[in-house]
Amino acid sequence: MRRWCIINGCLLLGVALAALVALNLGPEPVTVWSTTTTQATASAILWSARLPRILLALVVGVALGSAGSAYQALLRNPLADPYILGVSGGAALGSAVVVALGFPFIVVAGAAFAASLASMVSIYRFAARPGRTYTHALLLTGVVFNAFAFASIMGIHTVVPMQRAHEILFLLMGNLALGEPMTTAGAAIAVGLGWIVLMVRSRAMNALVLGEETAASLGVNCRRLQWEVFAAGSLMIGATVAVSGLIGFVGLFIPHATRLLWGSDHRLVIPAAGLLGAMFLLLADTLARTVLTGATYQTELPVGVITALVGAPCFVWLLRKQL
């Protein structure tokens, strides 16, 4: 318990520090101590441009880190990442359909949740047999499912009006820009609910990692646990896809790094991976909104580009270790 407090306390401190750094970095030379710009502009830049985006990055980072660790525990496979498995792709397909029909954001988020749950369950049914999951089957199912989801999204993309097409493309890019306070709050509530479920069930996840029979002998209802964790994870992933599109690989290597650093007790891994994910995504997004926004290009990068640049090599490394 003491170790739990120290590690998570340090991570929380790290997140706060990263947030402070991010708040003071940007294309405009404005910091919390600055006196260069007029007071009104400076405070608008700090509190209505940077802060909402930092908060969104933290919410999405927690969701990807914690849900990623839960998926990896449940499938007993370190390559189980919502992006690679196709869960995010499914959520994006669900929200693309609803965006195409012109529904408001709350319906988009609901559709993303339902679609991510449906894809998680179907991928699990295909790739997992009682007792164990097959890495190849799992990855191939994910690849095929992603290809299917992307093809369907591109199909929708070609038939909708230009403006909706733009929104759908945004879903595929992964982006934390223009997070409105209300949508961020909605996503935070959904992620928070899912996160509480994962925390409550983290002890049972430890038992499940040892095998279903062992878990059952320890009094864990495996079916129920799977459903609860799938639902909670899907709620978190669905909410993040609806607000920020597809941000890949964070759910893959953050849980892995967490386990590498502090062992695989899920009571620690679930919150620690969430905090580490938040810290990583915040730094990646800070990079995304500063690296090309100078006078030459004046344009932002989608944060998904940066997470993929870091994440894809990590995936290859993990895959080599596993095969």
Partner: protein, 287 residues
């Protein structure tokens, strides 16, 4: 501050753009080898053809061709990027006109290899657009009407620019996409029009035509006017009041939603420039 007399005179003289069909038609029928079955692969090319009196010889257009109204009734054989090769061939056109910038290369090659004559024109700047209007006129046997159209457009646009040259240059943001925000930079066609209308685009990059500006850059540059092209027509897709409450344009209510269709490099270009200028310089004559 503006020279209203000049502006009014210009409006009076050039208010009949695109109504020169009579002269164009007369010209075309005399042309011996001029094409009789034309397919247009761009909405602005369709507009140009109608304006120079070749509208009655168009047999196929794109799904985006909505002006003049009679263009919308013509058979649709292309979307914005690629023509449907099969449909184009079935129409047996003797001339297909596309744009160099974004006509799908493979489809164009297939049309060419099927023996169809294809004319690719360029519309990457205002001046090349004038050249292309003349090129199209020569290709369809209406060179005089096309040259007159190009000249009228140029004169009208130069006159409009002169009208605004002593007016203050308002800081302007031109938004073409939302979520994430996409702006039109000076390298884009709309950006060139903004410069000609006497607006100071807050986006100054020359590396990309349509950058995605950082929210804080918009806040720091504090645009006085926001030209919103995110919706085809009607209401803006961006909730400006909640996302950019601190920006001057939002506070003074100078967010102007304009129809995207108007900003095509074609016969309505002077009208587009005038509309844009009126949006940039407050209190202008409404056409």
């Amino acid at each position: 501050m503006f020279n209203w007399t000049i502006l009014f005179a210009i409006l009076l003289i050039f208010s009949n753009f695109g109504k020169s069909r009579l002269t164009g038609a007369a010209e075309a029928t005399t042309g011996e080898a001029s094409p009789q079955r034309i397919v247009s692969l761009k909405p602005n090319i369709t507009e140009i053809l109608f304006a120079i009196g070749a509208g009655d010889r168009i047999v196929g257009v794109t799904t985006w061709c909505n002006f003049p109204p009679e263009a919308a009734a013509l058979p649709k054989v292309a979307d914005y990027i690629a023509p449907n090769v099969e449909k184009v061939l079935a129409l047996q056109p003797d001339l297909v006109i596309g744009a160099q910038e974004n006509s799908w290369r493979q489809s164009i090659d297939r049309l060419k290899s099927a023996g169809i004559s294809v004319l690719l024109t360029s519309f990457d700047s205002i001046d090349t657009s004038f050249d292309s209007i003349r090129t199209i006129g020569e290709a369809v046997g209406a060179p005089t009407a096309a040259a007159a159209l190009a000249l009228r457009l140029k004169l009208a646009m130069d006159a409009l620019t002169r009208t605004w040259q002593h007016a203050p240059t308002p800081r302007a943001l031109v938004v073409v996409g939302h979520w994430p925000l996409v702006a039109a930079g000076p390298q884009s066609f709309i950006g060139a029009l903004v410069a000609q209308a006497g607006g100071a685009n807050i986006v100054t990059t020359r590396e990309t035509a349509y950058p995605r500006p950082a929210m804080e850059m918009v806040l720091a540059k504090d645009p006085e006017v926001i030209i919103d092209l995110t919706s085809g027509m009607g209401e803006s897709a961006v909730q400006w009041e909640s996302t950019f409450p601190a920006v001057k344009a939002v506070q003074t209510g100078r967010i102007v939603t304009l129809p995207t269709d108007l900003f095509r490099p074609g016969p309505r270009l002077a009208h587009a420039l005038q509309t844009l200028g009126c949006a940039l310089h407050r209190g202008c004559l409404t056409p």
